[in-house]
Symmetry: C2
Subunit: 153 residues, 2 copies
């Protein structure tokens, strides 16, 4: 292995396009951002329910997310496993300190993304819709640029 290539390959260092490891790293980060997205949405939603309704019940969470209650329950179990939430049987779901911090960060990001989209001329409903997905793929550097843009425009 490594002594006789099976097929042609351009001389190393000749490609002017994105190199393989770079692109692979980007895709990998996008994949992990995706896996965090679900937890982020749950944390944000649970915080919202706790603040606006006083409690967060699995069925309420499920209804807001548009999934079956059993689906929400399994996601809540994952939140608990990751130390973001706790729950008392038949008494609702609560956020740990880590969960609350996550929820706050997520809410701030969500609002900032919506504001930038609106500032760029995106119609209100499209901005809300797209932000729900985009918010999970915005790095701190991009977030900072967004804030600067809104301040300076």
């Amino acid at each position: 292995m490594g002594s006789s290539p099976a097929r042609k390959r351009g001389p190393p260092g000749t490609s002017a396009l994105p190199e393989e490891p770079t692109q692979a790293r980007r895709f990998g980060k996008a994949r992990s951002a995706q896996s965090a997205a679900l937890l982020e949405d749950y944390a944000e939603l649970i915080a919202d329910l706790l603040a606006n309704a006083g409690e967060a019940r699995p069925t309420d969470i499920a209804r807001r997310l548009g999934v079956a209650h059993a689906t929400a329950v399994k996601a809540i179990a994952r939140l608990k496993r990751e130390g973001l939430a706790t729950a008392r049987p038949y008494r609702g779901v609560f956020l740990t300190d880590a969960g609350q911090r996550l929820a706050e960060r997520v809410r701030a990001r969500h609002r900032l993304v919506v504001d930038v989209l609106r500032a760029l001329g995106v119609p209100a409903e499209a901005a809300e819709q797209d932000a729900e997905g985009i918010e999970h793929h915005v790095s701190d550097a991009t977030l900072a640029a967004f804030a600067r843009f809104l301040a300076e425009r």
Copy 2:
């Protein structure tokens, strides 16, 4: 069912916040955008390999995506199932007409997202990184707004 609510519920039409069905619809759309994301990335990448290397082999695709070749093969099987690609055993992967159209749309979106991020002051590598995820959540309305913004600025 429907004649005796088990728990308190605010009077209908009183909530000033996003109504439940609206939010559920947004989350649902975000979920389906997510499931399309993988196909979009594969289509874009395969088109790129076909154009720049003359052929798209499972191992090349896998290396560029940073996954095992067996993972790429299974995704390619899904592309075939959905009518986006074809493959000849041991001879590489090809795009159907539908696959090529998808790849072109995806590439255009990808570039537009990167350009907007750059225009907003996001550093180059962060823009490339974030675009890889954001691109799958940009609606036509948002895309149009992005194009207008770049033209008018």
